[in-house]
């Protein structure tokens, strides 16, 4: 079973269709599947719904699909860095479903784990709870949140072996594992594919069972806010 594909376009071949729900990993511009997003843009597929914590910036990440009007709806927790997003949203061209960040992550993880619904205190008494089932446990009120079952997962990892075992790097892990779990099919881009057997079996962040297709490529890895401190001179 060969999981390794030559490039993003080939890895997505046959998987894209108008109106589909895509779960994407990444937080801000950190750990986003930039190669796959570019290929989705080139494919011209449209009316997409994205479950993704953020919407990228105007010219990077999911933002590039907003420029081309390929996105119908976002399920996100924070979209503050994207001017085109705001324009389309305020003009009614784009739907937006806000999810608290932890609820979004757990909804992805839940779907991947065969859990269609779970209760959380997050958002009780806020607009997030409107229309959702409320239930008491131990005298406290919780709301029911449902799993996000995506048609496709797109994910960025640091390294993979040929069987799709994945390793992430630092905070670029973020939403990638839960996003990978919740799709019917999961396509992953990595910086390096290493021979099977060269990753430590105790240190694999996401086993290959979650990974259907895999590509290796060069990543821009753009920094959104470059903050530094001054060196104290000796």
């Amino acid at each position: 079973m060969k999981k390794v594909y030559a490039n993003a376009t080939e890895a997505l071949d046959g998987l894209l269709s108008d109106g589909m729900l895509i779960a994407a990993g990444g937080f801000g511009l950190c750990g986003i599947p930039e190669l796959l997003l570019n290929a989705i843009k080139d494919s011209g597929v449209k009316d997409l719904t994205f479950a993704s914590n953020n919407a990228g910036v105007d010219d990077f990440g999911i933002g590039i699909l907003l420029q081309t009007r390929q996105v119908k709806k976002m399920i996100s927790s924070y979209v503050g860095e994207n001017a085109e997003f705001m324009r389309q949203y305020l003009s009614g061209e784009l739907e937006l479903e806000f999810n608290p960040q932890g609820t979004l992550a757990e909804r992805m993880r839940a779907a991947g784990c065969g859990i269609p619904g779970f209760y959380t205190k997050t958002g009780v008494g806020t607009v997030i709870a409107d229309g959702k089932e409320h239930k008491d446990f131990g005298g406290e009120t919780y709301i029911l949140e449902e799993g996000i079952f995506a048609d496709l997962s797109i994910v960025k990892a640091w390294k993979a072996d040929e069987t799709g075992n994945l390793v992430f790097r630092k905070t670029a892990r973020n939403f990638n594992p839960p996003a990978a779990m919740c799709g019917k099919v999961c396509v992953v881009e990595v910086e390096e594919i290493v021979p099977t057997g060269s990753l430590d079996p105790d240190s694999i962040h996401l086993p290959g069972i979650y990974v259907h297709r895999l590509i290796q490529g060069a990543h821009e890895k753009r920094i959104e806010q470059r903050t530094v401190r001054q060196r104290e001179d000796a």
Binding site: C30, F98, G102, I223
Partner: protein, 207 residues
């Protein structure tokens, strides 16, 4: 003289105890890290990190290492990374001892509004709703009044809520208040601020 940003941050740092795992919000709360002294505090960044270090030296920025404000940061010897589901699992599960956050409005019953102004640009709640619902203690650090001079400590919030009855303590430029049965209780006044001044700037019931 009311406290400045750094004095408010220093006062918030006093609330932290040795061994605590803490989440700091954006703005003044970020400054709290400068005032923990020799207390053993571990900072969580909700994008998937415990043991957040300072900003990197120029040239050492790592695109794979950012905080929840998307700023480049560094790791410490104690650092551990994990995914977003795990990160919010520990937040929702009450493992984080305290969150220090900014706010637009706090009500006397502990309601908090800090994520949305209807009709204005809507950015999203990010992790704020999870934090206030889950962490052990929620400390708000903010100016006592808004730019029009109106109190931000209200009888009821007017903006959409981030959480209901979630705030435990409010630290402002005028002083420190606890949220208690029936309203707010003055814990401490900023240097040179009188109780009358603080009361005059507060719409919420002070008990």
């Amino acid at each position: 003289m009311p406290w400045d940003r750094n004095q408010m941050a220093a006062r918030a740092a006093n609330e932290l105890e040795d061994g605590m795992y803490v989440n700091l919000g954006i703005g003044i709360p970020t400054l709290v890290a400068n005032y923990v002294g020799d207390k053993d505090i571990t900072l969580q960044s909700e994008n998937g990190m415990l043991g957040m270090g300072p900003f990197p030296y120029e040239g050492e920025e790592d695109p794979d290492l950012i905080n929840a404000g998307k700023q480049t940061i560094t790791e410490l010897r104690r650092t551990a990374y994990f995914d977003s589901a795990q990160s919010f699992g520990m937040i929702r599960g009450g493992k984080i001892a305290a969150a220090i956050l900014g706010a637009m409005e706090v009500a006397e019953n502990g309601d908090l509004a800090n994520w949305m102004i209807p009709g204005k640009l809507v950015k999203g709640m990010g992790g704020a709703m999870d934090l206030v619902a889950g962490v052990g203690r929620v400390i708000v650090v903010m100016d006592h009044t808004n730019k029009h001079g109106d109190s931000k400590l209200l009888k009821e919030c007017t903006l959409p809520l981030t959480g209901k009855g979630v705030v435990d303590m409010i630290i402002t430029n005028l002083g420190v208040l606890d949220v208690v049965e029936g309203g707010l209780r003055i814990v401490e006044l900023a240097d040179g601020v009188s109780e009358d001044e603080l009361r005059a700037a507060t719409e919420a019931t002070i008990v």
